[in-house]
């Protein structure tokens, strides 16, 4: 029997607001444990939460970007469970009136478009972090992350393969980065996903029993986990077994998942409205204002690049892959009006630099002006691309201006026709054999002569001009 895999994703994303969701503590990462917390986020007796309005604003931005209906009155609920990283023993979240519902995102895999529906979008607080010390056999708690604002974006079970799931995630990440609500650094845990997987006979309309893998924080692991889990379920069914509803833990090293807890010992979270927080009223004006301030989304940008700037699908995809890269493309294009050349530089030299330096686009200091200068010089034939690459490297390493560097190192291409004429004449005089070969039909000899002349000029000759001069002198010789 052929089976179809059905996947739903619950994406948790940490918002990059300056302060936490219910107190004034800063949102940070990698600080000394328990230095960025206060009575509110550590849940000391008597402390009360006060909602950070920016979190609602970020949530509204996201609702609009993923086409959600926005609740005009939204509330917070308490989700009760005991765990050492949860100091109040309840998480303030949203169950009964989440801020967003019924959204969607269009994805495209192998040329097929698919609309992935978004069930809901809600705000909540993050928990702390446990650190296990195997040497001392003890567990320590770091509360710095407690109260960091999170959005949870819950998809409908509309995804059908690991590839679709990853495309959806990439698209979602791009949007979240573009609208500036999160840096989505998976390695720092600021984007995590709970993955729900089930399988069913192809063509069936009913869903199979699903399992859940929680807190996955790499695309690679998510893709692999989906593939392995659907295989496991299919094998189980083929052997006449039954899938049981359970939470499983994905072990990246073992490349396999293991049962954690079944439905029977699932928590009863006893949600109820948090009496410490009042309802949030979202006005039409507020929504309009957020909508006006929303930047162009990556999908719209891609459409514009293909339609108006003549980029290919692939080029458009790459230059809109990250908000910093996309911003750079926009700015360089504005300065040069050279869409194709700019795209070529970004996809080539720029991405290579990121790879070589093993850093993210936000960490590479390169101004649009400098890159624009390099792109223009090359396009105008003032330098050749090999030289231009050296210039770019120097700009990044030493912070010099491209123009200054070229002048200081005498790298500008020689376009002085009389100098080129003289040099070619001398090279021809030194290589009578080559002239002979050329006249006997060995056209390759011309290439050799170009190389000799280029070497004599220190590699800075305008190659086109040099070629035409050599051809003319050869024909006259």
């Amino acid at each position: 029997m052929t089976y179809e895999t059905v996947i739903g994703l619950e994406v948790h994303v940490e918002l990059s607001t300056a302060s936490k969701i219910f107190c004034g503590c800063p949102v940070t990462y990698g600080q000394e444990p328990n230095t960025k917390c206060c009575p509110v986020c550590t849940g000391l007796p008597g402390a009360l939460p006060v909602l950070n309005k920016n979190v609602v604003e970020y949530a509204l931005r996201t609702c609009l970007a993923v086409n959600c209906e926005i609740s005009r009155i939204t509330r917070f609920d308490r989700k009760n469970y005991f765990y050492p990283d949860l100091p109040k023993a309840y998480q303030i979240s949203q169950l009964y009136q989440p801020i967003g519902r019924n959204g969607w995102l269009d994805i495209e895999v192998n040329g097929t478009k698919r609309r992935v529906r978004i069930h809901e979008l809600h705000m909540e607080e993050d928990a702390g972090k446990l650190m296990h010390d195997p040497w001392e056999d003890q567990t320590l708690v770091d509360y710095n992350r407690c109260g960091v604002p999170l959005l949870e974006i819950v998809s409908e079970p509309d995804l059908r393969s690991a590839e679709e799931a990853l495309t959806y995630l990439e698209q979602l990440r791009g949007i979240l980065q573009f609208i500036g609500v999160s840096d989505c650094r998976m390695e720092e845990g600021s984007l995590r996903a709970d993955v729900n997987v089930s399988v069913r006979p192809a063509g069936s309309n009913e869903f199979g029993t699903r399992t859940e893998m929680k807190n996955m924080n790499s695309f690679k692991a998510i893709g692999r986990a989906i593939e392995k889990e659907s295989l496991r379920q299919i094998e189980l069914l083929n052997e006449g077994g039954r899938v049981i509803q359970e939470t499983r833990r994905w072990d990246e090293n073992k490349d396999a998942s293991f049962p954690m807890r079944s439905k029977e010992d699932a928590h009863d979270y006893r949600y109820f409205p948090d009496p410490d927080l009042t309802a949030v009223h979202v006005s039409e004006d507020w929504i309009d204002q957020v909508r006006r301030e929303l930047p162009e989304l990556p999908a719209d940008r891609r459409k514009r690049y293909i339609g108006e700037l003549g980029l290919s699908d692939y080029e458009a995809q790459i230059v809109t892959g990250h908000p910093v890269i996309s911003g750079l493309f926009e700015d360089v294009y504005d300065l040069t009006k050279l869409a194709k050349d700019t795209a070529s530089w970004i996809m080539g030299e720029y991405l290579q630099l990121l790879k070589d330096k093993n850093c993210g686009p936000e960490n590479l200091s390169l101004s649009a002006e400098d890159l624009a200068a390099v792109v223009s010089m090359t396009a105008e034939g003032k330098v050749n691309r090999v030289t231009a690459r050296k210039v770019l490297a120097a700009v990044i390493e030493d912070g010099v201006k491209p123009q200054t560097y070229i002048e200081q190192h005498g790298l500008a291409m020689v376009s002085d026709a009389s100098l080129l004429e003289d040099t070619v004449r001398r090279v021809l005089a030194e290589n009578p054999q080559s002239i002979e070969d050329y006249k006997n039909g060995k056209k390759k000899a011309a290439g050799f002569l170009v190389g000799q002349a280029m070497r004599a000029l220190g590699g800075k000759a305008d190659p086109q001009l040099l070629g035409s001069i050599i051809n003319r002198q050869l024909s006259e010789a």
């Binding site: 009575p39 550590t42 849940g43 009760n80 100091p87």
Partner: protein, 535 residues
């Protein structure tokens, strides 16, 4: 000490006139506390050093003319569920027996700013759950009017401290009657303010949507002074609303000025009962009231009418539903609020050597350090919220709450106040209430509505029973009209002298006039038999 006859405002006036100093007064009251509190059991913690430091600061403030208030330098106590930085805050529980908060409740900070002097933290039912102060795991508090009786609860330590002459006023908290009922049992005046008038930041939560901090004192004028200092918006409490219309603050400022005039011997004509429309729900007569309380209430109505008030009978539907609705909502919220006491971050932690896993660690810690009444309510609340029961219990209780709220609102559109008793009976004897929790819960029947509706309610002395125990009346007013309510209380106390009787109690030493002082054995023995915990 002659000054014990004075009210907080009266002592405040003497301090402001520099006739006495706060340092002397505080030293005297600390000595008095030492003599009396062994028997009365009002305070869980006495912090002499803190009190003397605050007294000195108060004297400094008073030396600078015009910077003090009438409460500056007046010794008081704070219920031990209100956080005080650096001073242990136990909630009367073994769970928090050693917990020292690193921050102060907003209300305490506000009082500190005007030069309040706190001598100690007062006893309460564990986590404010109880009506007698007997569920406290740390102390047994006696009613200064009759030492074999309870002071009421949960703010019983606060009430006994004021009635017993250990303080001129106290802060209490009221979730279902916890200020008004002990005020009634101890012949005091106590205000449960409008929900949202006083910040809850730092008040260790029992039931967040019902809890409210308020004053307890000898008369309504003192309550006005304390409430005025405590009330006001707080950006740390989302439910402590911005006073949008400014009416609460404006009313309080005016009331404060009037209180000062009255204290200085002047007269204010706006303090009057004339023309007030008062609703008296007939249904209260049908409930099992102690006969003397019913008599006293009838006399009270007559007195009010003689003074020019217009009292009319009215309906009060849903009275019987109010108790189950209250206990479901309060317990549900409590089950969440008290989950944090798990032994991980602070507070007590099981010392058992054979803890098997995390769940075992949690349940042992909570089993060992929480008392039976607290466990009962946590279990009730956990049940009411559990999957499959939420709609039938919690949600239904919230609907009842809404109906009660709507009815009170409609009643207060036609009347200025709703009059009623505080409790079905006067203070019971120690050891007679805990065996039957349901009866204890039912005794809250007259007080819970103010919490469910959020309306302000004032407890005022209005008579005595055959044992000379105080009986109180309760006036419920309109939301944010707390100042008017207090003004009416002052008017009632201008017409009557029931509130003055406590002066005699305050002047009595612990052994004087109390023949039944050690009935039932010593405090430790009684406490152990009540709670199963040895002191």
């Amino acid at each position: 000490m002659d000054l014990l006859k004075q009210t907080a405002g009266g002592v405040g006036l003497l301090l402001a006139d520099r006739k006495i100093s706060s340092v002397e007064l505080t030293a005297d009251i600390l000595k008095m506390t030492e003599e009396r509190d062994e028997v009365l059991g009002c305070l869980i913690t006495v912090d002499k050093a803190n009190a003397m430091k605050q007294a000195q600061a108060a004297d400094d403030l008073l030396a600078d003319v015009g910077t003090g208030s009438l409460l500056t330098g007046v010794p008081m106590v704070v219920k031990d569920n209100i956080s005080t930085a650096g001073i242990r805050t136990t909630c009367g529980s073994r769970m928090l027996e050693k917990y020292i908060p690193p921050y102060s409740a907003s209300v305490y900070s506000r009082l500190q700013k005007i030069g309040a002097v706190m001598t100690g933290k007062s006893n309460l039912d564990e986590f404010a759950m109880g009506s007698t102060c007997e569920t406290s795991a740390l102390r047994l508090t006696r009613n200064p009017w009759d030492h074999k009786r309870v002071p009421g609860g949960s703010s019983g330590g606060s009430a006994a401290a004021v009635a017993g002459g250990l303080a001129w006023y106290a802060l209490g908290s009221d979730t279902g009657g916890s200020i008004r009922q002990p005020a009634g049992y101890c012949g005091l005046t106590g205000l449960k303010p409008t929900y949202g008038a006083v910040s809850r930041y730092g008040l260790i939560a029992y039931a967040s949507s019902l809890d409210q901090i308020g004053p307890m004192a000898q008369d309504a004028a003192d309550c006005a002074l304390v409430f005025s200092a405590a009330a006001g918006p707080d950006k740390r409490d989302s439910t402590c609303v911005q006073d949008v219309s400014g009416s609460l603050r404006a009313g309080l400022d005016k009331l404060n000025r009037d209180v000062e005039i009255v204290l200085s011997g002047g007269s204010v004509d706006k303090i009057s009962l004339k023309g007030l429309k008062i609703a008296v729900p007939a249904v209260w007569r049908e409930h099992a009231l102690q006969p003397e309380i019913a008599d006293v209430l009838e006399k009270t109505i007559k007195k009010l009418e003689t003074a020019g008030a217009i009292c009319s009978e009215c309906d009060l539907p849903l009275l019987d539903e109010s108790i189950p609705a209250y206990y479901l909502i309060a317990s549900a919220e409590a089950s969440g609020n008290l989950s944090r006491y798990d032994g991980v971050q602070y507070g007590s932690r099981t010392q058992a050597a054979d803890v098997s896993d995390l769940a075992d660690f949690y349940s042992r810690t909570r089993a060992e350090y929480l008392g039976p009444e607290v466990k009962r309510r946590i279990m009730l609340g956990t049940f009411a919220l559990s999957s499959g029961y939420y709609d039938a219990w919690y949600l239904k209780a919230q609907r009842v709450r809404r109906l009660i709220k709507d009815y009170y609102q409609s009643l207060l559109a036609d009347y200025d106040y709703i009059l009623g008793p505080i409790t079905p009976a006067t203070a019971p004897e120690i050891g007679t209430s805990l065996e039957d929790p349901l009866t204890m819960y039912l005794s809250d029947i007259y007080t819970v509505a103010a919490n469910l509706t959020g309306l302000p309610a004032l407890a005022l002395p209005c008579g005595f029973d055959k044992n000379n125990l105080p009986i109180g009346l309760q006036l419920t007013g309109r939301a944010y009209q707390d100042a008017d309510l207090l003004r009416t209380g002052m008017a009632w106390q201008r017409e009557t002298d029931y509130h003055l009787r406590v002066q005699q109690i305050r002047q009595l030493g612990p052994a004087e006039g109390n023949t039944n002082l050690f009935a039932g054995g010593g405090n430790e023995k009684i406490h152990q038999s009540l709670t199963g915990v040895a002191l």
